[in-house]
Amino acid sequence: MLKNGVLKMKNEEQIKKDIETTFGELVKVHIKRRHRIKVDAPKNMTLPILAYLKQRGFHQFTLLTCVDWIKKGMFELVYNLYSLDYNVHVLVSTHINRENESMPTAINIYEMAFDYEREIHEMFGVEFEGHPRLGEFLLEDWKGMPPMRKDFDTRAYVEEKFNVKDLTKELFTRKEQPYRGPGSNG
């Protein structure tokens, strides 16, 4: 429902105000757009916020992703929550540094986080304390470096693993074509 030209975001403001009142300036909250709130929280405040949001009404733990800011040497963990009654997504994101910093597990708040944390551990190498089964998840007998990290060179790995000599030369005789939009690959 439009209110003088600006979509009325009653729920979002209400939630924003609540978070600010409870957590004060420890946590930065800003509404990105309708139905979407971003919360930047320091590492030690993430789990309390998750717990608070859960009892606030955000029952669905949609996703846990990890972004590898290799330049800043940081991993950004983003917890996506969603509440059906308010129809609002909350993205709680926190930064931990890349080299062997561990993150407390969120299993006891949201069980759904179980597999997401395993996947992130396998793909990025993030340690989650208190997680019962971190070990091998998707990749069987994977010995190398967690593959999703920016510093993992796939091409070199492929040449070494599948002993394909010059990967790019052999597979592509033609030079790279500039992309000319859909339906124009000729």
Binding site: L139, E140, D141, T154, R155, V158, K161, F162
Partner: protein, 171 residues
């Protein structure tokens, strides 16, 4: 021997290892539009009963182990049909750390069908081609697997630990 070759060519029992996107092409070929059964090809449930193995799409290392196991469980003479470009050279996953690039390094393949998922006509065409090869007695890729067994095993051992993932019965 000629009678067996003829009967083998006319009745190929297919085991369909549906990995990757090739699986979508099989239903039209089986059902009324293209009906492969008229060539005597029926989908079979287990490797023991089938003689034709369809690899329809890219094979990650994980699925390669299972494919090798299925292939070894099939009674000889057995034939392999590689669908799509992913089996030829890894297709669009050419630089993926997980997908194997050349199928014939690991199991002998009789016929490749190129195309990023060939249409049923191409599949039927491949089947007919395979029929003639069998009838003429040329399709003996399976013999290659038995003769240079170590070579195949060496290739496989590069990709995964063969010792752990192999059936230990006297061959």
């Amino acid at each position: 021997m000629k009678l067996f070759n003829f009967s083998q060519s006319r009745s190929l029992w297919m085991m369909h290892f549906c990995t990757g996107c090739g699986a979508m092409e099989m239903p039209p070929t089986m059902t009324s539009r293209f009906d492969m059964e008229r060539f005597g090809i029926i989908p079979m449930a287990t490797p023991r009963q089938s003689d034709l193995l369809l690899i329809t799409g890219y094979l990650t290392i994980k699925t390669l182990k299972r494919v090798v196991r299925a292939y070894e469980q099939m009674p000889t003479p057995r034939y392999v049909l590689g669908f799509g470009s992913c089996t030829i050279n890894g297709g669009m996953y050419w630089d993926s750390y997980n997908v194997i690039k050349k199928l014939e390094l690991y199991i002998p393949v009789d016929i490749y069908i190129n195309g990023c998922m060939p249409r049923p006509e191409a599949i039927i065409d491949a089947f007919l081609k395979l029929r003639e090869m069998i009838a003429k007695g040329e399709a003996n890729a399976w013999k290659k697997y038995i003769e240079n067994y170590e070579w195949y095993k060496k290739n496989q051992s590069e990709v995964f630990d063969v010792e752990k993932w192999s059936i230990k019965n006297e061959k």
